[in-house]
Symmetry: C2
Subunit: 377 residues, 2 copies
C-alpha cells in the first residue's frame, strides 16, 4: 500500500479504467448471472451499510430478510418453510448438507448426488468430510432413480436432486426421489439455485419443490434468475429443527443464535431481493421467464436450421448444442466477441438465455455460429 | 409472493419505511462495522454487476482483486503472500483452517485456539469435524503460550493466534506462538479480522504478521476497520501451496481452479476495498486509526473519572469497562438510545470506537453512563 493515497479523481479514473476491461453482459451467453434489476440497484444502495449479522441494530433490514424468505417459501410451495438469505448457491448447499450430516450420529457419512450436480458438491464433500456418491443419468440427463437407490446405504445422510442442472438446465425426477427419501428416512435436498426463479413461472405440472413430501431443503439463488444483487442466495428448510442445527452462539451480538455460515452479512442484498420480488410479483417474473424461454426456443430452432441438434429440447433457458469440437468453436466465437461455454459429457456448446439476452443477439450469434462451423468444415 | 407486483414508488416507500427502523451508526458503540467510506460506495456502485467467480468475463474486477490482495500482502509484511477476497472473517478462518487440515493425512485432527477466539471457530470445528482446544488466557487476556503447548499433540493441524480479540481488542504473543509453530512443524493462522486494519497503523513494535516466521496465514477484514463494503473479507497465505489446497474444478467457468468458498462473488466489494486502500494510503489509515485510539483513551480516562476501571488499558480501539452487572447497565443505556455490548469473563461493558464515533458522543455517553450507574447504586 502506498504511503500517500491517491486523490478521489485518480481513484475514480483507476476504477473506470478497470471497469472498461470488464465485459458488458449483452454478448455473454455463458453466465447464469445478469445485470441486477434497476430496483435492486436502488434498494442495494439504500441499505449499503446495514449488517444482517447484527439484526438488533438493523431491525428493518432483518424484516426485509424475513419477508424475502417468506415470499420464497410461498414460491416453493410451503409458506411455513424457514431459512435465511445466504451468499449464494454454494453456501446454501453447504449448509443444507451440514444440517443433514449433523442430524446423524456418525461422521463418516456419504451423500448421493446426480452426476450432473454442481461442482460445489465436491467442495462440500471435502469441507464436511463426506463421501460424494454420484448417480448415473438417463438419456435425458436426468438422474436415474435406480442408480440413486443402489448407492444408498446406512451411512447416507442426504440425497440431492437438481432442479435446473448447471450444464444442461435439466430437472431431476424430484417426486420419485422424494418417495425414495421417505422410504429410506433420509433428507432430500433440492438444488434449485438456477431453477428456483424459473420453474415456478414456466407453467406445466412440475413437481420439484416442497409440494413433494420428501423434500426437506431447497437452495434458490436470487442473484441468478432473481435479478437481485450479489451476494444474494437463499436456503429454505421444511423443518425448523434442521435450521436450528446450524445455530452458533454469539454472546456479544444482538442475535443469540445466528444460523448463517458467514458472520457480517449484506443487508443491501436482502433489500435488493425483497425489492425485485415485491416489484415484479408472479406476473412480472412470468414475463421475464417467458422472454428467456422464447429466446431459448429461437436459439434451438435456429441451430437446427443450420444443422446442429440440441442435446435435449430446452427444459429451461439453457440451450446445449451437440458438436464434435465445442472448445474449438468456443475459441472461434470468442474472436467474434461472443462468450459461450461448453459441456463435457455429452460434448456441446452451452448457451444460457438470460434477461439480458435479446432476439437480435441470438440471430447475430446464429449467423456467426454458422460461419464459424462452415470455416471449420 | 403477490401475483401483481407493487409499483416502483410503492417498493421505494416500503424500503424507506424499513430503512427508518434501522439505527444510524452514530450512537452505536457495539459494532465492529462502520459506514463505508464514500469512495467505497462509489466504487461498489460502479462494479455492482460484476462477478469475481467468473474472472474471464470481468478481468478488470479480477485485477482489482489481485491488486487489493497485493496491497494487503504488503501491509501484512510479506509482499509475496497470495490469497483472495472472501465474504468476511468467518469464511477466511474456515478456509485457512481447511487448508491446514487438508495438509494432514488424517481427518480426526484438532486445532488449538485461545479461549478468546471468535465464536466462528466453534462453527469451524463443527464444519470441518475438528476438535477445538481452547488455551487459557493470562491476566492481560492474551493467550498463555504454555497452555497452548500443553494442548498440542500429534493430531494438531493448526495453531491460531488472535491479533485484536473480538471481546477485548487484545493481541496474542504471535511471535512466541510462531516459534512454537515452527518447533512443532504446525501451521499458525492469525485471525486479524479486526486488527488487520488497525495494528499496522498504530506505531510501536508489534510482531504479529508475516514478519513472524511461523505465521502461515492471516485473516483480515476490510469491511470492518478497512471501511469497505460488505461482503469485504481477505485471506492471505505465505505459501502458494496452501491456497492451492482450496482449489475446486469448475469446467464451465472462465476460471479453472477457483479458491473461494463461494461461487458467485461480489466484484463490487473488491472494487470498494481497492478504492479505500488506494485513496487513504498508509497516511490516511493512520489518521483514521489515530482518531479511534484518541477516542478510546478519552473513553477509558473518562470512565476512570467516574470510578470505573477498564479491564485492560486499550491496546486497540476496544474499551472494556469492568462492572458487576454489565447486562443491566446495557439495558439502561439502551433506554437512552446507546448501543453497547458486554463481555462475560471478566464481566464488562464493551465499547468499540469506530470511524463513525465522535468525541461529542463519547462525552454524552459518559454522562449517561455516570447517571445510569448512580441510579443503580
Amino acid at each position: 500500500m502506498r504511503d500517500r493515497g491517491l486523490s478521489e479523481e485518480e481513484v475514480m479514473r483507476g476504477l473506470l479504467k478497470m471497469r472498461a476491461k470488464d465485459l458488458s453482459y449483452d454478448r455473454i451467453f455463458s453466465s447464469m448471472c445478469t445485470p441486477p434489476h434497476p430496483i435492486a440497484l436502488k434498494a442495494h444502495q439504500l441499505f449499503q451499510e446495514t449488517n444482517l449479522g447484527d439484526p438488533g441494530l438493523f431491525p428493518g433490514s432483518a424484516e426485509l430478510e424475513a419477508e424475502a424468505v417468506r415470499m420464497m417459501a410461498e414460491l416453493l410451495g410451503h409458506p411455513e418453510a424457514c431459512g435465511y438469505l445466504s451468499t449464494g448457491g454454494t453456501e446454501s448447499n453447504i449448509q443444507a448438507i451440514r444440517a443433514a450430516r449433523n442430524s446423524a450420529d456418525f461422521r463418516d457419512g456419504n451423500i448421493v448426488v446426480p452426476r450432473s450436480a454442481h461442482f460445489s458438491f465436491d467442495k462440500i464433500g471435502d469441507l464436511l468430510s463426506l463421501e460424494i456418491r454420484k448417480a448415473d443419468l438417463d438419456g435425458d440427463l436426468k438422474v436415474e432413480v435406480g442408480s440413486v437407490e443402489e448407492l444408498i446405504d446406512e451411512k447416507t445422510v442426504s440425497l440431492v436432486g437438481i432442479a435446473g442442472t448447471t450444464e444442461f438446465g435439466q430437472v431431476d425426477p424430484i417426486d420419485r426421489l422424494g418417495r425414495l427419501a421417505l422410504d429410506w428416512g433420509i433428507p432430500l435436498h433440492v438444488d434449485a439455485a438456477f431453477g428456483g426463479f424459473v420453474l415456478p413461472f414456466l407453467g406445466g405440472d412440475w413437481r420439484w419443490d416442497f409440494s413433494v413430501e420428501g423434500v426437506t431443503s431447497i437452495t434458490i439463488d436470487p442473484h441468478k434468475m432473481g435479478m437481485a444483487t450479489i451476494p444474494g442466495g437463499g436456503l429454505l428448510f421444511r423443518h425448523p429443527e434442521d435450521l436450528e442445527r446450524l445455530a452458533a452462539y454469539a454472546p456479544y451480538l444482538t442475535v443469540a443464535r445466528p444460523k448463517a455460515l458467514t458472520g457480517t452479512r449484506s443487508g443491501a442484498a436482502a433489500a435488493a431481493i425483497w425489492a425485485v420480488m415485491s416489484h415484479l410479483g408472479m406476473e412480472g417474473f412470468k414475463e421475464v421467464v417467458n422472454g428467456c424461454m422464447a429466446l431459448s426456443r429461437r436459439m434451438a430452432s435456429g441451430a437446427k436450421e443450420i444443422g446442429i441438434e440440441p442435446v435435449i429440447e430446452p427444459v429451461m433457458n439453457v440451450v446445449t448444442l451437440r458438436m464434435e469440437d465445442p472448445e474449438g468453436v468456443r475459441a472461434a466465437l470468442l474472436g467474434r466477441r461472443w462468450r459461450v461455454s461448453t459441456t463435457r459429457s455429452p460434448k456441446a456448446l452451452r448457451l444460457i438465455m438470460m434477461p439480458h439476452s435479446t432476439a437480435e443477439n441470438v440471430d447475430l450469434f446464429l449467423g456467426d455460429l454458422e460461419d464459424v462451423l462452415r470455416k471449420k468444415a
